[in-house]
Amino acid sequence: MGSEAAQPASQDRPPARELESYRAPIEALLNTIIARGGFQLSFTMRRLTSPEADLEAPELVVDFSGPDSDLLVEANGELLNALEYIVLKAVRLEEELFTKITFDCHQFRRLRREELKLMAQVAADRALESGAPFPLERLTARERRIVHLALRERSDVRTESQGYGAERRLVIIPAALGRNSAGPDRR
């Protein structure tokens, strides 16, 4: 009993270690949901040691595969997002840390990000052509953030989120229209 194990050579930074403690409860709950929901899915969890070139900088990825993958990513990843939200809530992860753990499936997050960046540029051009504010389709908070950031460099348009909850919309506004809109809180 007495022999104390030698200190491991590398020590995790404190926040990283804390994140690791969510692994087991996430895995347990996901296994239950997959079994009881009759989903044909499996998943692996991996740490991103050096956060990939990614503004969201997730540190833990839960990666799904299996016959029901299509179900996860359809409707812009509605089921993937729902699972992520429920599971992270259930394991009591603080909401500020929700971006640190991400659920993914066949590169969906990366592909969706690229799609959103492209959509942002096209919509910005559309707003300029029409000279009127251009509201985008409904997006999640995370998706809106990608669009805001994608258009930050453009001086000919600005972006705003308007409305509340599920109805919140990102609107692209030609810079020429000036800045007199109601709710300029960026997200």
Binding site: L29, T32, I33, R36, G37, G38, F39, D68, L71, E78, L79, N81, A82, L83, Y85, I86, K89, A90, V91, Y164, G165, A166
Partner: protein
């Protein structure tokens, strides 16, 4: 499907022993009635109903696999 909702609700609330799910079979649709401790209502509904919406998405997908329609009613 009852077991799915039970498991999700129990994971979300602070009083898992107070979670009850009742199945009401209709012709077109099966209704799952979820009851939780009053102090846990917010936990299953969430900000602007986001948690409830997410549970319904999961329920809908699981139902689709069975080719059946399910709806979730959260009882107060």
């Amino acid at each position: 499907m009852k077991e799915l909702i039970e498991a999700i609700a129990k994971a979300l609330v602070d009083n898992p022993d107070q979670v009850q799910v009742r199945t009401v079979e209709g012709e077109q649709v099966t209704v799952l009635e979820l009851r939780v401790h009053p102090s846990d209502l917010g936990k299953v509904i969430g900000k602007q109903g986001r948690t409830a919406r997410s549970i319904r998405t999961i329920l809908g997908a699981a139902g689709m696999k069975l080719k059946k329609r399910f709806t979730l009613e959260i009882l107060e």
